[in-house]
Amino acid sequence: MTEYRTGYRMRNMLKYCLALIWLSMSLISGWVSAEVINGEEAQTGLRTWEWREAGVSVQLVQRLPDQTRAFFQGRGFSTAESDSIARACVFQTIFRNDGKHPLVYDLDDWRITYQGKHRSLLTRERWDEKWQAEEANQTARIAFRWSLLPTRQGFESGDYNWGMTSFGLPPGESFDLSLNLTINGNVIARSIPGIVCAADQPGN
């Protein structure tokens, strides 16, 4: 009887250990494999989308059009110019490399899928053509250039950066983002589905 009980306990202990190992392994694999996490900032209610893989992460945080209008008006853009930026689906973008390897990205290689069609992001260079044509205020253009996420950049391990990205879609619209990165010489292509541009206030 005692032997039976000891055996029973051993089997239970083994099951318990196996369950713990399985739990640990699945959590660890979840950590290192690709994942997209959707969220909402508690204080602001702004929605976020974050892609993570192998220590690299790209987080997109909605910016309200009014927030963007005020920001760029405060930096020398006219009301009309600020409005054109605000209505171009702007996100705050936080790009981190906490992985072991260097990475490079080029926003010109990223694609938006909107209503079944593919399009490119509105990068610094594309905006600058517009500002040049409209002879926008020089101080405002400097602020704009440095506010946007660089079009191309390399991150060593430990680097990170913030910057706005603009997708050129109307407020409230939804799209999928295909992103490409080169990590340690290997090109990886991933997708963040169902990103939503922040809606504008009624009357704007």
Binding site: L20, I37, Q138, T139, I142, A143, P150, G158, D159
Partner: protein, 169 residues
């Protein structure tokens, strides 16, 4: 007991958001690059010519008041400055594209004692290998850029400061 273990495991591997954390370390540049010289004025009206600081280690931080990670790293830069100033290591913050009033207002909330220089027309930053803000460089006593950090850092991190201090030798 088993519940505690499971909770500990979940906490250990929970995907905590890392987006708000500072970056880590300094990247040693693969090739020796001479730092582009500049003359810029600080908030007190004093001119700073980089080449005048030859013989000293200089930390050069490109930033702007509206840039969230720039603001986030300012307190740790001040703490680092409090250690480094007496060791003869210089720290220069170069604000990009803003005027004196804007920077002055900023310092009411983020008091810093190291010189804040103004690159209002962004001519200096265009001479440096900067793509985004903040970007910080560490220049050795010979005027070469040795380290770079893209994004904010905890500048009073002892490991990071050890790399900076080692350039004095």
């Amino acid at each position: 007991m088993s519940k505690i273990l499971i909770i500990l495991l979940l906490l250990a591997f929970s995907p905590l958001s890392s987006a708000q954390q500072a970056g880590k370390g300094l990247t040693k540049l693969p090739t020796v690059t001479q730092a582009a010289d500049f003359v810029l004025t600080d908030l007190d009206g004093k001119q700073h010519r980089l080449s005048d600081y030859r013989g000293q280690v200089v930390i050069i931080n490109f930033w702007a008041t509206w840039c969230p990670p720039c603001r986030a790293e300012m307190p740790s830069m001040q703490r680092a400055w409090e250690q480094l100033e007496k060791e003869g290591i210089l720290m220069l913050g170069i604000d990009v594209g803003e005027d004196e009033d804007t920077i002055f207002q900023f310092t009411a909330n983020y008091p810093v004692e190291f010189p804040l220089l103004m690159d209002s027309d962004s001519k200096v930053i265009d001479q440096w290998p900067v793509l985004g803000l903040p970007t910080t460089f560490v220049v050795d006593p010979k005027g070469n850029i040795v380290y770079r950090a893209i994004g904010g850092r905890e500048w009073d991190d002892p490991e990071l400061l050890a790399l900076v201090r080692a350039l004095k030798q």
